[in-house]
Amino acid sequence: MLFVPGSNASWLSTVHVYGADTVMFDLEDSVALREKDTARILVREALMSPIWKDVEVCVRVNAIDTPFFRPDLEAIVPAGVAIVRLPMVRDADMVRELDRVLTEIEEKCGREVGSTKCMAAVESASGVVNAVQIAKASSRMVAIALAAYDYMIDMHTVRGTAADESELFYARCAVLHAARVAGIPCYDVVYSDVNDEEGFLREIGIIKRLGFDGKSLVNPRQIEPLHNAYAPTEAEVDRAKRVIEAADKAEAEGLGVVSLDGKMVDAPIVASAYRTVRLAELSGTRR
Protein backbone atom coordinates (compact mmCIF):
# COMPACT_ATOMS: atom_id res chain seq x y z
CA MET A 1 0.00 0.00 0.00
CA LEU A 2 1.86 3.02 -1.31
CA PHE A 3 1.38 6.49 0.19
CA VAL A 4 1.21 9.39 -2.27
CA PRO A 5 0.95 13.01 -1.09
CA GLY A 6 -2.46 14.29 -2.18
CA SER A 7 -1.05 17.72 -2.96
CA ASN A 8 1.49 16.47 -5.50
CA ALA A 9 0.08 16.57 -9.04
CA SER A 10 3.15 14.93 -10.53
CA TRP A 11 2.96 11.86 -8.28
CA LEU A 12 -0.79 11.57 -8.76
CA SER A 13 -0.16 11.57 -12.52
CA THR A 14 2.53 8.88 -12.60
CA VAL A 15 2.52 6.56 -9.60
CA HIS A 16 -0.08 4.16 -11.07
CA VAL A 17 2.64 2.65 -13.28
CA TYR A 18 4.70 1.21 -10.39
CA GLY A 19 2.44 -1.74 -9.58
CA ALA A 20 1.51 -1.15 -5.94
CA ASP A 21 -1.37 -3.38 -4.81
CA THR A 22 -3.13 -0.31 -3.44
CA VAL A 23 -2.25 3.34 -3.82
CA MET A 24 -3.18 5.62 -0.97
CA PHE A 25 -3.75 9.29 -1.75
CA ASP A 26 -2.89 11.14 1.43
CA LEU A 27 -4.78 14.19 2.65
CA GLU A 28 -3.34 14.03 6.16
CA ASP A 29 0.26 14.32 7.32
CA SER A 30 1.97 14.81 3.96
CA VAL A 31 -0.20 17.81 3.09
CA ALA A 32 0.65 21.24 4.52
CA LEU A 33 -2.17 23.03 6.34
CA ARG A 34 -2.34 25.77 3.69
CA GLU A 35 -2.82 23.16 0.92
CA LYS A 36 -5.56 21.06 2.56
CA ASP A 37 -8.26 22.65 0.38
CA THR A 38 -6.51 22.24 -2.97
CA ALA A 39 -5.15 18.75 -2.16
CA ARG A 40 -8.72 17.64 -1.48
CA ILE A 41 -9.79 18.92 -4.92
CA LEU A 42 -6.76 17.38 -6.64
CA VAL A 43 -7.42 13.99 -5.05
CA ARG A 44 -11.10 14.20 -5.95
CA GLU A 45 -10.28 14.89 -9.61
CA ALA A 46 -7.61 12.15 -9.65
CA LEU A 47 -10.16 9.64 -8.36
CA MET A 48 -12.36 10.41 -11.36
CA SER A 49 -9.48 10.29 -13.85
CA PRO A 50 -9.32 7.31 -16.22
CA ILE A 51 -5.64 6.73 -15.35
CA TRP A 52 -6.73 5.41 -11.94
CA LYS A 53 -9.68 3.29 -13.05
CA ASP A 54 -7.82 -0.04 -12.89
CA VAL A 55 -5.97 0.60 -9.63
CA GLU A 56 -7.30 0.06 -6.11
CA VAL A 57 -7.18 3.51 -4.55
CA CYS A 58 -7.57 4.37 -0.91
CA VAL A 59 -7.68 7.91 0.49
CA ARG A 60 -6.31 8.77 3.91
CA VAL A 61 -8.54 11.54 5.18
CA ASN A 62 -7.76 13.86 8.03
CA ALA A 63 -8.52 12.71 11.57
CA ILE A 64 -12.11 12.73 12.80
CA ASP A 65 -11.48 15.53 15.31
CA THR A 66 -10.14 17.98 12.71
CA PRO A 67 -12.15 20.52 10.66
CA PHE A 68 -10.93 18.78 7.48
CA PHE A 69 -12.52 15.37 8.12
CA ARG A 70 -16.06 16.09 6.91
CA PRO A 71 -15.07 18.23 3.87
CA ASP A 72 -12.61 15.49 2.84
CA LEU A 73 -15.38 12.89 2.80
CA GLU A 74 -17.88 15.21 1.09
CA ALA A 75 -15.40 15.66 -1.77
CA ILE A 76 -14.14 12.10 -2.25
CA VAL A 77 -17.17 9.90 -1.62
CA PRO A 78 -19.20 11.23 -4.59
CA ALA A 79 -16.01 10.86 -6.67
CA GLY A 80 -16.14 7.11 -6.09
CA VAL A 81 -13.34 6.46 -3.60
CA ALA A 82 -13.10 2.72 -2.91
CA ILE A 83 -11.57 2.80 0.57
CA VAL A 84 -11.25 5.53 3.18
CA ARG A 85 -8.36 5.21 5.63
CA LEU A 86 -9.16 6.88 8.94
CA PRO A 87 -6.05 7.84 10.92
CA MET A 88 -5.64 8.08 14.70
CA VAL A 89 -8.42 5.62 15.52
CA ARG A 90 -8.59 5.19 19.28
CA ASP A 91 -11.86 3.29 19.70
CA ALA A 92 -14.78 1.69 17.89
CA ASP A 93 -16.96 4.81 18.25
CA MET A 94 -14.67 6.63 15.81
CA VAL A 95 -15.23 3.96 13.18
CA ARG A 96 -18.97 4.03 13.83
CA GLU A 97 -18.96 7.81 13.39
CA LEU A 98 -17.10 7.43 10.10
CA ASP A 99 -19.69 4.85 9.04
CA ARG A 100 -22.52 7.24 9.95
CA VAL A 101 -21.05 10.17 7.99
CA LEU A 102 -20.35 7.95 4.99
CA THR A 103 -23.95 6.71 4.99
CA GLU A 104 -25.21 10.30 5.11
CA ILE A 105 -23.02 11.35 2.16
CA GLU A 106 -23.77 8.21 0.13
CA GLU A 107 -27.52 8.81 0.54
CA LYS A 108 -27.11 12.46 -0.46
CA CYS A 109 -25.04 11.79 -3.59
CA GLY A 110 -26.92 8.69 -4.72
CA ARG A 111 -24.12 6.22 -4.12
CA GLU A 112 -25.06 2.75 -2.85
CA VAL A 113 -25.04 2.82 0.95
CA GLY A 114 -22.18 0.73 2.28
CA SER A 115 -20.19 0.76 -0.96
CA THR A 116 -17.48 3.01 0.48
CA LYS A 117 -15.18 0.73 2.46
CA CYS A 118 -12.99 1.69 5.40
CA MET A 119 -9.72 0.87 7.01
CA ALA A 120 -8.64 2.07 10.42
CA ALA A 121 -5.13 3.11 11.36
CA VAL A 122 -4.23 2.44 14.97
CA GLU A 123 -1.60 4.88 16.21
CA SER A 124 -1.95 4.96 20.01
CA ALA A 125 -2.00 2.77 23.10
CA SER A 126 -5.80 3.17 23.23
CA GLY A 127 -6.10 2.06 19.64
CA VAL A 128 -3.98 -1.01 20.24
CA VAL A 129 -5.92 -1.98 23.37
CA ASN A 130 -9.26 -1.47 21.55
CA ALA A 131 -8.11 -3.06 18.29
CA VAL A 132 -10.60 -5.96 18.30
CA GLN A 133 -13.59 -3.64 18.77
CA ILE A 134 -12.20 -1.27 16.13
CA ALA A 135 -11.71 -4.06 13.59
CA LYS A 136 -15.28 -5.29 14.13
CA ALA A 137 -16.95 -1.87 14.42
CA SER A 138 -18.44 -1.70 10.92
CA SER A 139 -19.29 -3.96 8.03
CA ARG A 140 -17.42 -1.41 5.88
CA MET A 141 -14.10 -2.36 7.50
CA VAL A 142 -11.81 -4.09 5.00
CA ALA A 143 -8.46 -3.68 6.77
CA ILE A 144 -6.68 -2.42 9.85
CA ALA A 145 -3.22 -0.89 9.94
CA LEU A 146 -0.67 -0.06 12.58
CA ALA A 147 1.13 3.27 12.38
CA ALA A 148 4.23 3.67 14.52
CA TYR A 149 5.18 7.33 14.86
CA ASP A 150 2.43 8.54 17.19
CA TYR A 151 2.30 5.15 18.92
CA MET A 152 5.98 5.44 19.83
CA ILE A 153 5.37 8.87 21.36
CA ASP A 154 2.32 7.58 23.23
CA MET A 155 4.37 4.71 24.65
CA HIS A 156 7.26 6.98 25.71
CA THR A 157 9.68 5.07 23.53
CA VAL A 158 11.44 5.48 20.20
CA ARG A 159 11.99 3.30 17.18
CA GLY A 160 15.26 1.76 18.21
CA THR A 161 17.99 -0.10 16.49
CA ALA A 162 17.15 -3.46 18.08
CA ALA A 163 17.05 -6.05 15.32
CA ASP A 164 13.87 -7.67 16.70
CA GLU A 165 11.99 -4.33 16.86
CA SER A 166 10.69 -5.33 20.28
CA GLU A 167 9.25 -1.84 20.88
CA LEU A 168 6.52 -2.69 18.35
CA PHE A 169 6.07 -6.36 19.21
CA TYR A 170 2.98 -6.08 21.43
CA ALA A 171 1.22 -3.59 19.15
CA ARG A 172 1.90 -5.68 16.07
CA CYS A 173 0.57 -8.82 17.73
CA ALA A 174 -2.50 -7.07 19.18
CA VAL A 175 -3.53 -5.42 15.91
CA LEU A 176 -2.82 -8.58 13.95
CA HIS A 177 -4.96 -10.69 16.28
CA ALA A 178 -7.76 -8.13 15.98
CA ALA A 179 -7.59 -8.38 12.20
CA ARG A 180 -7.78 -12.16 12.31
CA VAL A 181 -10.74 -12.08 14.73
CA ALA A 182 -12.54 -9.70 12.34
CA GLY A 183 -11.43 -11.62 9.25
CA ILE A 184 -9.76 -8.64 7.57
CA PRO A 185 -6.19 -7.99 6.33
CA CYS A 186 -3.62 -6.26 8.50
CA TYR A 187 -0.92 -3.84 7.32
CA ASP A 188 2.30 -2.92 9.05
CA VAL A 189 3.95 0.46 9.65
CA VAL A 190 5.96 2.39 7.07
CA TYR A 191 9.72 2.05 6.87
CA SER A 192 10.69 5.62 6.20
CA ASP A 193 14.44 5.25 5.42
CA VAL A 194 14.12 4.37 1.73
CA ASN A 195 17.90 4.08 1.36
CA ASP A 196 18.20 1.38 4.02
CA GLU A 197 17.21 -1.71 2.04
CA GLU A 198 18.84 -4.07 4.53
CA GLY A 199 16.78 -2.67 7.39
CA PHE A 200 13.65 -2.69 5.24
CA LEU A 201 14.13 -6.35 4.35
CA ARG A 202 14.83 -7.22 7.99
CA GLU A 203 11.57 -5.57 9.01
CA ILE A 204 9.66 -7.39 6.26
CA GLY A 205 11.07 -10.66 7.62
CA ILE A 206 9.69 -9.84 11.07
CA ILE A 207 6.21 -8.87 9.92
CA LYS A 208 5.91 -11.76 7.47
CA ARG A 209 6.73 -14.24 10.24
CA LEU A 210 4.12 -12.62 12.48
CA GLY A 211 1.49 -12.91 9.73
CA PHE A 212 0.96 -9.40 8.37
CA ASP A 213 -0.64 -9.22 4.92
CA GLY A 214 1.50 -6.32 3.78
CA LYS A 215 2.97 -2.99 4.64
CA SER A 216 2.42 0.69 4.08
CA LEU A 217 5.11 2.11 1.80
CA VAL A 218 6.46 5.60 1.26
CA ASN A 219 8.38 5.17 -1.99
CA PRO A 220 7.83 3.17 -5.21
CA ARG A 221 11.34 1.71 -4.74
CA GLN A 222 9.96 -0.32 -1.82
CA ILE A 223 7.29 -2.11 -3.88
CA GLU A 224 9.45 -4.68 -5.62
CA PRO A 225 11.45 -5.80 -2.53
CA LEU A 226 8.19 -6.17 -0.57
CA HIS A 227 6.47 -8.14 -3.32
CA ASN A 228 9.52 -10.34 -3.73
CA ALA A 229 9.80 -11.06 -0.02
CA TYR A 230 6.13 -12.08 0.15
CA ALA A 231 6.25 -14.12 -3.08
CA PRO A 232 6.47 -17.88 -2.46
CA THR A 233 9.45 -19.87 -3.74
CA GLU A 234 9.03 -22.16 -6.72
CA ALA A 235 9.36 -25.16 -4.39
CA GLU A 236 6.56 -23.77 -2.19
CA VAL A 237 4.31 -23.28 -5.23
CA ASP A 238 5.04 -26.79 -6.54
CA ARG A 239 4.27 -28.28 -3.13
CA ALA A 240 1.05 -26.22 -2.87
CA LYS A 241 -0.12 -27.41 -6.29
CA ARG A 242 0.50 -31.02 -5.27
CA VAL A 243 -1.50 -30.49 -2.06
CA ILE A 244 -4.41 -29.04 -4.06
CA GLU A 245 -4.28 -31.93 -6.55
CA ALA A 246 -4.30 -34.44 -3.69
CA ALA A 247 -7.24 -32.66 -2.05
CA ASP A 248 -9.18 -32.58 -5.34
CA LYS A 249 -8.46 -36.28 -5.92
CA ALA A 250 -9.58 -37.23 -2.41
CA GLU A 251 -12.78 -35.25 -2.82
CA ALA A 252 -13.51 -36.89 -6.20
CA GLU A 253 -12.99 -40.31 -4.64
CA GLY A 254 -15.18 -39.44 -1.67
CA LEU A 255 -12.33 -39.83 0.79
CA GLY A 256 -12.52 -37.91 4.05
CA VAL A 257 -8.78 -37.90 4.54
CA VAL A 258 -6.26 -36.31 2.18
CA SER A 259 -2.77 -37.74 2.11
CA LEU A 260 0.37 -36.73 0.24
CA ASP A 261 3.71 -38.56 0.30
CA GLY A 262 2.37 -40.77 3.08
CA LYS A 263 1.43 -37.86 5.34
CA MET A 264 -2.05 -36.64 6.23
CA VAL A 265 -2.97 -33.22 4.84
CA ASP A 266 -5.65 -31.44 6.82
CA ALA A 267 -7.94 -28.57 5.85
CA PRO A 268 -5.74 -25.64 7.05
CA ILE A 269 -2.88 -26.96 4.92
CA VAL A 270 -5.14 -27.13 1.87
CA ALA A 271 -6.33 -23.57 2.55
CA SER A 272 -2.72 -22.44 2.90
CA ALA A 273 -1.86 -24.13 -0.41
CA TYR A 274 -4.60 -22.19 -2.20
CA ARG A 275 -3.25 -18.98 -0.64
CA THR A 276 0.29 -19.80 -1.83
CA VAL A 277 -0.86 -20.41 -5.41
CA ARG A 278 -2.93 -17.22 -5.39
CA LEU A 279 0.03 -15.23 -4.06
CA ALA A 280 2.24 -16.63 -6.83
CA GLU A 281 -0.36 -15.61 -9.42
CA LEU A 282 -0.27 -12.05 -8.07
CA SER A 283 3.41 -11.60 -7.19
CA GLY A 284 5.20 -14.33 -9.15
CA THR A 285 7.77 -16.48 -7.44
CA ARG A 286 10.63 -15.28 -5.31
CA ARG A 287 13.86 -14.30 -7.05
Partner: protein, 94 residues
Amino acid sequence: MRIVRAAVAGSLESSDALVKVAPNDELEVDIQSTVMGQYGDAITTVVNETLEKLGVTEGFVSVDDKGALDFAIRARVQGAVFRGSDEQPDWSRL
Protein backbone atom coordinates in the same frame (compact mmCIF):
# COMPACT_ATOMS: atom_id res chain seq x y z
CA MET B 1 -19.55 31.70 -8.83
CA ARG B 2 -18.15 35.18 -8.34
CA ILE B 3 -14.43 35.86 -7.98
CA VAL B 4 -14.09 38.49 -5.27
CA ARG B 5 -10.36 38.41 -4.50
CA ALA B 6 -7.05 37.46 -6.10
CA ALA B 7 -6.11 33.84 -5.44
CA VAL B 8 -3.63 31.19 -6.57
CA ALA B 9 -3.60 27.37 -6.69
CA GLY B 10 -1.11 24.79 -7.94
CA SER B 11 2.60 25.04 -8.68
CA LEU B 12 5.12 25.40 -11.46
CA GLU B 13 6.44 21.86 -10.95
CA SER B 14 6.40 19.41 -13.82
CA SER B 15 2.94 17.83 -14.42
CA ASP B 16 1.26 20.63 -12.49
CA ALA B 17 -0.21 24.02 -13.37
CA LEU B 18 -0.27 27.35 -11.56
CA VAL B 19 -3.65 29.04 -11.81
CA LYS B 20 -4.25 32.64 -10.74
CA VAL B 21 -7.62 34.36 -10.58
CA ALA B 22 -8.60 37.97 -9.88
CA PRO B 23 -11.78 40.03 -10.03
CA ASN B 24 -12.54 41.53 -13.45
CA ASP B 25 -15.59 43.03 -15.18
CA GLU B 26 -15.57 40.41 -17.90
CA LEU B 27 -14.17 36.89 -18.26
CA GLU B 28 -10.59 36.93 -19.51
CA VAL B 29 -8.63 33.68 -19.77
CA ASP B 30 -4.90 33.52 -20.48
CA ILE B 31 -3.29 30.12 -21.00
CA GLN B 32 0.43 29.41 -21.27
CA SER B 33 1.71 25.86 -21.56
CA THR B 34 4.95 23.98 -22.18
CA VAL B 35 2.91 21.71 -24.46
CA MET B 36 0.77 24.41 -26.11
CA GLY B 37 1.72 23.22 -29.60
CA GLN B 38 0.44 19.68 -29.12
CA TYR B 39 -2.30 20.09 -26.52
CA GLY B 40 -3.27 23.77 -26.56
CA ASP B 41 -6.80 23.16 -27.83
CA ALA B 42 -7.41 20.38 -25.30
CA ILE B 43 -6.10 22.47 -22.41
CA THR B 44 -8.26 25.43 -23.45
CA THR B 45 -11.31 23.18 -23.60
CA VAL B 46 -10.63 21.75 -20.11
CA VAL B 47 -10.16 25.23 -18.62
CA ASN B 48 -13.28 26.68 -20.28
CA GLU B 49 -15.45 23.68 -19.38
CA THR B 50 -14.31 23.86 -15.75
CA LEU B 51 -15.07 27.58 -15.52
CA GLU B 52 -18.48 26.97 -17.10
CA LYS B 53 -19.33 24.24 -14.59
CA LEU B 54 -18.28 26.55 -11.77
CA GLY B 55 -20.51 29.28 -13.18
CA VAL B 56 -17.65 31.76 -13.55
CA THR B 57 -18.80 34.45 -15.98
CA GLU B 58 -16.44 37.25 -15.03
CA GLY B 59 -12.91 37.48 -13.70
CA PHE B 60 -9.34 37.19 -14.86
CA VAL B 61 -8.01 33.64 -15.05
CA SER B 62 -4.37 32.85 -15.83
CA VAL B 63 -3.15 29.28 -16.34
CA ASP B 64 0.57 28.46 -16.49
CA ASP B 65 0.67 24.78 -17.39
CA LYS B 66 3.74 22.59 -17.01
CA GLY B 67 2.39 19.49 -18.71
CA ALA B 68 -0.41 18.71 -16.25
CA LEU B 69 -2.94 16.03 -17.09
CA ASP B 70 -6.59 17.05 -17.54
CA PHE B 71 -7.58 16.11 -13.98
CA ALA B 72 -4.82 18.27 -12.51
CA ILE B 73 -5.73 21.29 -14.66
CA ARG B 74 -9.38 20.93 -13.64
CA ALA B 75 -8.37 20.68 -9.97
CA ARG B 76 -6.10 23.72 -10.09
CA VAL B 77 -8.72 25.88 -11.82
CA GLN B 78 -11.31 24.82 -9.25
CA GLY B 79 -8.84 25.43 -6.40
CA ALA B 80 -8.02 28.96 -7.51
CA VAL B 81 -11.67 29.85 -8.14
CA PHE B 82 -12.84 28.51 -4.76
CA ARG B 83 -10.06 30.42 -3.02
CA GLY B 84 -11.02 33.57 -4.88
CA SER B 85 -14.70 33.20 -4.08
CA ASP B 86 -16.80 33.33 -0.91
CA GLU B 87 -18.87 30.33 -2.00
CA GLN B 88 -18.44 26.75 -0.84
CA PRO B 89 -17.84 23.96 -3.39
CA ASP B 90 -21.02 22.34 -4.70
CA TRP B 91 -19.62 18.93 -5.69
CA SER B 92 -22.86 17.91 -7.39
CA ARG B 93 -22.15 20.52 -10.11
CA LEU B 94 -18.66 19.27 -10.85
